[in-house]
Symmetry: C2
Subunit: 110 residues, 2 copies
DNA sequence: ACCGTACTACGAGATTAGTCGAACTTCGAT
DNA sequence: ATCGAAGTTCGACTAATCTCGTAGTACGGT
């Protein structure tokens, strides 16, 4: 008990504000096949989904790594819900900063 | 004379066809600051420009490397003209495959 | 024919990325 | 209170990437 390691309300993970997002980071985040799979899944689930719900060909710790890249680039927003973390696409911010980019990426057949 | 190392008409460098382009490669090509500078310069010069005309903070051989990444991803088209190589943005192909992507990237302030 | 310009090719070095397993935390349920 | 499920953290390893300098090729002009 005693030292209850702080911040019970700010359980949230660090997200860049819209003004802090950089195009290189966003493009780099999108340029990986695993992360692209995640982004496509999120695009199909506007209410958000948990990392583990995406069936990916990599280990759990690797998924965590990819979620972090996406989050820190500003591509997704993640919030803790129970024992899970629900992520959503930051469509509004992406569309505001780079209009057409996300739709263009999602339009890709291959 | 004799063995005139072939293909005098196909001096062109290898370019992927539209159908061969992959979104990951395009995004990766765009996700580098030096290459983004090149792409922005090309966007401002529809008639095309030579690699050396872009004032970049890297060596000549590094520029060659970046041009190759862009070319092999299908982002630019390069053709030899005299002792130079003129490159242009493959806007038509990019817009057809990923509508909005290029404009979104070029819209980025930062 | 020679020289300079404009690149490309080829290692080599250093940095970054993607991957994993093992150990740890947190929450919810039994 | 204990357990399991869901994620994270922490090295470690490998592969890819960016960078450079040197050397080489190709073309155009003197």
């Amino acid at each position: 008990m005693d030292l209850m390691t702080s911040v019970p309300s700010d359980l949230a993970l660090p997200h860049p504000q819209r003004a802090e997002m950089r195009i290189e980071a966003v493009l780099h985040a999108l340029a990986d096949p695993v992360r692209l799979t995640i982004v496509r899944a999120l695009a199909r689930a506007p209410q958000g989904i948990s990392c583990g719900a995406v069936n990916l060909p990599v280990s759990k710790s690797t998924v965590t790594h990819h979620m972090r890249i996406l989050r820190e680039a500003g591509v997704i927003r993640t919030q803790p819900v129970g024992t899970s973390r629900i992520s959503t696409l930051r469509r509004d911010d992406l569309d505001a900063l780079y209009p057409g980019l996300l739709d263009g990426v999602l339009a890709a057949e291959r």
